[in-house]
Assembly symmetry: C2
Homo-oligomer: 562 residues x 2
């Protein structure tokens, strides 16, 4: 495994400037005794308690570090069971991470102080790839890069998120992340979880609890109650294996891009695309990015041109829009199917939106051609703009075909000042501050406009700008993915970012727009007068985890907080 978390010298400087961590309460249990036993069980090299390592893992793009008390790296489900047994005996809560790249939603941080991290990166086996039935069985440490490599030549596509090559597939699925292909609802495409419970027993959902169940990876529900949902956006268990359905490579594929020049076109775009989604002409998530989101993939905040002022002045925004050739709203999606099926879908898409906006359909042949042209222009010393566009086009096209890339990572650095450690850095290494705010709206133009009307003035009032994507995650729902992007190296801006986040969360919830997912800054806000649901969730979790051994506090608004 390539170690991508290579230490950077400026790390401690940066940490020193971060807001104070949560008030640390020592773990109730006997940490030293637990560490001794964990070391015996896993080998000393897989138990890390060095302060620097703990501080490093406790960093957060949210700005508030929460260092773990130990980092444990089990290599198998049996070792995870042993880790849990020891934790239970010594009352040290555990927080499992697959790869810890939950950027903007809590990163690798435990939900509270005093918890030991169970880092599952060593459990990175692709246990099975089944071509005929189009699924794989993987462990939580498997990264997007590794899964893509394992699928090469298999005739199967994975669905990738923008979290980059080193992000875990299982972690994202359990947090209900979404991607770009018809398999974009990652949780819905899991089939069978294997979970170590707080009492160290091994639960298998679906049919997995029967020996030799033939449909184990083919049918998700099994028989009796469906328990899988309890382990998504939750705690109370450590998932050590999942089945994941994959998409057979379609006969034909065509990406499409729609560019709308006017800010006020958003509702019309949503209302034009919804019927195509409902009628399954569009069978995958469609992403509708505003100009700023599109620009943030191409450059950072133009500090020089604004003289350091924020938020972005309107004339600079207009200039950037023109320079980068992006519209007010930029739609990206793809068509998948047989050749005749894609041709039919292309026709339906053109009929629905072609008369109104510019639609570009792009298959691989066209892109390869543009790439060659870019290379030629590069030899001639020009064509830099084209090369960049082709690069971005390639990233978008890749992700629409389930090929993971690091192409979305630079967007996290929008507000970072000064040089970056690399072109596509780990947001934590790059001082990127990132607080995702992802309210879900019904897929109507009116709702999309209302969400924009809520968030835009709040961003502005706090000196930020709205970087927004509306994703048609289902035929009926839009997820507005927007983030407060800030520079974690700037304490004032960091504080302002948190205030902006709080204001956004409050206003959106008051408007009836609730998040599809949230990080630590949001968990405490989830109850909002709704008690039965969260009390029921707590009761269920307590039935499995009476002592709060696994990720206590995670997605639990009723938990006591610092």
């Amino acid at each position: 495994m390539p170690a991508i978390d290579t230490p950077s010298t400026s790390l401690l400087d940066i940490a020193a400037r971060l807001p104070a961590p949560e008030p640390w309460s020592p773990p109730e249990g006997d940490l030293a005794a637990a560490v001794r036993e964990w070391s015996r069980a896993l080998g000393g090299e897989h138990v890390d308690t060095r302060e620097e390592a703990l501080a490093r893992r406790g960093r957060s793009t949210g700005g508030r570090p929460v260092p773990p008390v130990a980092i444990l790296s089990p290599g198998s489900a049996e070792e995870v069971q042993e880790v849990v047994r020891i934790a239970g005996r010594h009352r040290i809560p555990l927080h499992p991470i697959s790869r810890g790249r939950n950027w903007g939603y809590g990163d690798a941080c435990p939900p509270g102080p005093g918890q030991a991290l169970v880092d599952l990166r060593r459990m990175n086996r692709v246990l099975e790839v089944h071509r005929e039935l189009a699924y794989c069985v993987i462990e939580p440490g498997v990264t997007q890069r590794e899964l893509a490599a394992a699928l090469e030549g298999s005739g199967l596509w994975m669905d990738a998120t923008g979290a980059g090559l080193e992000a875990s597939v299982v972690g994202n699925s359990l947090d209900r992340g979404f991607g770009h292909t018809p398999y974009g609802d990652h949780f819905a495409n899991t089939c069978g979880l294997e979970v170590v419970l707080p009492d160290a027993s091994l639960l298998r959902t679906g049919y997995g609890h029967y020996a030799d169940a033939r449909a184990r990876w083919a049918y998700r529900y099994g028989v009796g109650p469906v328990l899988d949902g309890l382990f998504s956006q939750s705690g109370g268990g450590i998932v050590t294996r999942i089945g994941l359905w994959l998409m057979p490579v379609p006969e034909a594929f065509s990406a499409f891009f729609i560019c709308a020049e006017r800010d006020e076109d958003l509702p019309e775009i949503v209302d034009a695309l919804r019927p195509l989604r409902l009628h399954e002409v569009l069978r995958s998530a469609v992403h509708i990015a505003n100009d700023l989101r599109a620009i943030s993939a191409r450059c950072r905040y133009p500090w020089e041109r604004t003289g350091g002022a924020t938020p972005l002045p309107a004339h600079v925004r207009a200039a950037l829009r023109a320079e980068h050739g992006v519209g007010a709203w930029n739609v990206a999606g793809a068509l998948y199917g047989t050749r005749a099926g894609v041709a039919a879908a292309r026709g339906a898409l053109r009929r629905a939106v072609g008369g109104r906006w510019r639609v570009v359909l792009l298959d691989e042949r066209k892109l390869a051609w543009a790439e060659r042209l870019g290379r030629v222009l590069g030899w001639l010393g020009r064509g830099e703009a084209l090369r960049r566009r082709v690069d971005i086009g390639r990233d978008v096209l890749d992700v629409l075909r389930g090929v993971p890339t690091d192409g979305a990572l630079p967007g996290a650095c929008w507000r970072v000042r000064g040089p970056l450690p690399s072109e596509r850095p780990d947001p934590l290494d790059a001082r990127a501050g990132l607080l995702w705010m992802s309210p879900v709206a019904p897929a109507t133009g009116e709702a999309a406009r209302e969400v924009m009307d809520i968030v835009t003035p709040i961003y502005e009032a706090h000196g930020f700008e709205a970087l927004v994507t509306f994703t048609m995650i289902t035929p009926r729902a839009l997820c507005c993915v927007t983030n407060v992007a800030f520079d974690r190296g700037e304490p004032e801006e960091s504080a302002r970012a948190l205030a902006c986040y709080d204001a956004l969360a409050g206003a959106l919830a008051a408007g009836g727009y609730h998040p599809y997912r949230t990080g630590p800054a949001g968990w405490g806000k989830l109850a909002r007068g709704s008690t039965v649901f969260w009390e029921t969730a707590r009761k269920l979790r307590a039935a499995l985890d009476p002592d709060g051994l696994i990720s206590p506090g995670r997605y639990d608004p009723l938990a006591p907080r610092a």
Copy 2:
């Protein structure tokens, strides 16, 4: 509401000949006091304790009646809450039924003796039909007939099961039934449950627990753990409302039928159709019925021709096959989409299977034409066979378009002797015995053949014949829906049917084929050496329902049984 359970005079005669009910243990609580309070809360006319009514509701197609101790008919969620409060005070367990037409899977019977039935038939409001976002909000008492009526002219299709016009939509969804259109996975198309919990609190899943959540009926998961699965194939709650996604009427629709003449063609059919399912050329469940299943929709067991002998002799079977014009395997499915999309799918289907078997594509125009022809032939005194075929064709075509019919009900009467109360009778009134056995297999030809190899000799050894459908419920899974059909009026045959069921369940599970759903005869068999899953399910249920107040024993193999 039309009362379809009109008493039949022969009822008590039949009941007298049924196998003995479960040994009855009197309820622990004070039933008389509870009945008094229920009557006060609901009005006396909505609390029924007349012995005849209880016996009637306790009838089972499975052959073992389990009469409830009272039948309560609340009219609202508030009344359900009050019913639950009273039940809790007096410790009388409750069993909710939506319409009680869970034929072959337990019917309206409570899971054990001493339970009061909560009959939700009065809660039959269609609360909302949203055309733009293609969903409705319904109460559990809404029947398939009522939902279809409410959707008339809406531009939306429901997905229907074969359980007939008077079956509940909610009940089937919670039991994870499936239908025929792209919305055939009923549970997956629910969005937001409202559930009265055993402590009488009202739980709303998804975003429903937030006041005025805009995406309440558009996005299923909400935020935090997903609890919906706990209330499917389970107990521990009474669902009083759901959101249900509906299919916008497609621009084009085409049914298709494939007829294979040889028994040994099954594996090849499955292997030919699977890629079409995986590539979404086929976007809905495809049903593959054997000759006997197809024949059982057209006539009853030919007692005269076999001289009363069972199982069906091979030569009679061959003759019936020829007379009814059915193949060894009969595939029915449909294509949905834009006109160009359906044309493309039709081409792909023909390419995949056309060279091998006869494929008939049927749109509404063609059927209308055949109908007219049948009517003309009828006037001329012939064409009876054509009329019947058109009737059956109409039923199949209806269900492929989400139109509920009673067309599948006669199949339940396969083994019933003597006259039936009507052409399409309630299986309970018709003495139909029905024990579904629905093992799930991976969608490979080899697995389908293996399932047939397991079940065929067991049916034969017990004097029954395998009426089988393989349904491609997902691209990766086949559900083999087969049933032991018997005459509940024949005690010897009834006993043999139960023995056959037990043998089938044992052999299928030993072969790795587990049911997607099961009735009371199967619940006790579900553990099969698998303890962690079922103990976890029990713990979770106990967290909500410590006193076992709602459907105790249902889908709970570890519950003590008589």
